[in-house]
Amino acid sequence: MKVSYYPGCTLKTKAKHLEDSALASLAALGVDVRELPRWNCCGAVHSLADDDLIHHVAPVRDLVRAMDEGSDRLVTLCSMCYNSLARANLLMRNDEVKRKTINDFMTEENDYHGEVEVEHLITFLRDTLGWDNLRAKLKAPLTGMKIASYYGCTLVRPKDVAIEPASGRVINEFVEALGARAVDFGASTVCCGSYQVLAHPDSVTEVVGRIIQSATDAGADALILSCPLCEYNLVKNQEELLQKQKIARRLPVFYFSQLLAMALGLGPESYRPDMNDAASVEFLKSKNFPVGSTAIRP
């Protein structure tokens, strides 16, 4: 089995803490994944229009790159990239007519028929390493922490690309493997508002308030996610919500991979708290995790 890693643009800029913590953890776990030497944007949003095939070209080109590397699997960390790549993959497997049109358009690339399997790191860890093996490698289990797993939309919808269609609890299993307590909360799959933050910021603030309060009410100390856009919305709106008394307190927000790196006993240069907001950094300090340099985000 050869595995390629697809980072996605945001992981190289605004979400370095998602990538750095994941790669440092995989190195510590001895899992070999290599970044694709060439890749482009995943397409970001899967186009649903029937006659809009051009927007599938970007993810399909990435899948071709993985195939050309001789990889069976393409592992992603970002929920949105996962969703976009996985849906384009299904299209190329299942729709013969569109597959031919896209392959014919991309004359400069090898034809693609869905040869590569797109996978999110969480399920990849479960299936290749296993929770028990992960547990055995922890140096600083997150005992006592109560963690809300925020799935958002793109890991679980639509059903045919959901990372865990059967239970929908795979991130909770991950949290428990790290030694923390997984907190169930009603809003774990409520949309964060996504790109509506541009056109309708007030609606996004409102829905973020519901998500944060739902996790807080369920007793969570912190919330984890795997999408930079969810992270942006869930972090950015909290101060305003707090001032308007729509939430009781600020809830620390981390990428799932940051908790993984912490539980593996890696240092702050791996889990990058310098890219988190102040409330999240304070939480780490209260749990005696080194935070390195001070937080830069309000």
Binding site: C9, K12, T13, R38, N40, I54, V57, R61
Partner: protein
Amino acid sequence: MSAPKQVATGDRAILPKGARTIPIFVMGKRYDVPETLTIMKAMEFAGFKFLRGAGCRGGICGACPTVYRKEGDYKLYFGLACQTVVEPNMFLAQIPFYPANRAQYDIETIEPLADVVHSLYPELFRCVACNNCTKACPMHVEVLDYVSAIKQGDLARAAKLSFDCIQCGMCASRCMGELPQYHIAQLVRRLFGKYIQPRAQHLQKRVGEIESGKYDAMLSGLEKMNHAELEKLYKEREREPDMVPLGTWMPKDVSHL
């Protein structure tokens, strides 16, 4: 058959009898031109006179991009008129200029950050990875790869990938996201050259020596010499032997070093 010998000059070359010509189509009109010429020379043979759209004639200035099709072939081809040899039944159009939005910035005050490039050129994120830019590049630059590198914030990689760009604008002409790729790449190379690329220490040292006047006496000495003295100095100059292994030769006079 060898290339036809030119027998007269003037507004238009006259070919010897029996010289082999091939048909090309410029903006839809047929011209019979000698084979083996470049597109640029063939068009001049046909009577076109370039006021714009011709510069260095050496494949570097980017002034003479040409788009063409071949008979019976659906594909678009791109080349520099001064570098591409005519083929029979080429259908040609010159595109010496293509409009593309260019951002205003002061290179002295901006920072070499992805955010800076992204906010000067937000249209970067309209890229759909169709790769038409790469297909249109007469210099075979991997345009999509450098656009992707810029989106990923890797300015150094983008600067290196776009190094062969000659700013002809064919990428922009074919872009469905309406990106001005070549202007964005130029900004990135400027940032790379000014802020990211390591400085050449030996160059700074030499500039310092020149500015401190180390070579002034030598230069004024040369200025005072007459023609015969200069010629003698030149002929008797010490010269590094050909093929000498690197780092093994030193001149007898090291006072200039």
